[in-house]
Symmetry: C2
Amino acid sequence: MGPAQFDQVSVIKKSNVYFDGKCVSHTVLFADGSKKTIGVILPSTLTFNTGAPERMEIISGECQVTRPGKATEQFRSGQSFFVDGNSSFEIQALSVVDYVCHFEG
Amino acid sequence: MGPAQFDQVSVIKKSNVYFDGKCVSHTVLFADGSKKTIGVILPSTLTFNTGAPERMEIISGECQVTRPGKATEQFRSGQSFFVDGNSSFEIQALSVVDYVCHFEG
């Protein structure tokens, strides 16, 4: 498990709300100009589209993830999964899932 | 309206989830040791208890707030309201409401 917080960052006060609040995140900006989002997914099954490639790091909770052309896999706290750019993934949050979305593009 | 982001801060990756996700926040830590939370309330009516006195700054959206012994008041983006410590307040989010909670104690 990585550190519990990001230091020396900026954070945008206004949240990002998806699927009527089933997923909520805040955007974190880094000194090098990159950004990540920290978010939570409530127990539900949601499909997200990607622009840039992403690495979804699970901070807490457990989920099942299905990506195009891949078998469904289960991920939990401390694990990550990659999603291609201009693609999508279905995530079933088996509990409340906290994540960090790392934009890899 | 204040700046849209906090700079030079730390942010805790794991979210704070209240009322089955009707309210979600992230904790922001400042160099002086103080903390604030940035959060969102989905359209709903919720009652929060306070420990320290709080200033709730509305970042976006509109809400109606009832505090003990006070008439219900409406607040919107750019406005703030104070809540005594060891007290409570009822908030009806008329839309999705983003806020910053400033702990005043």
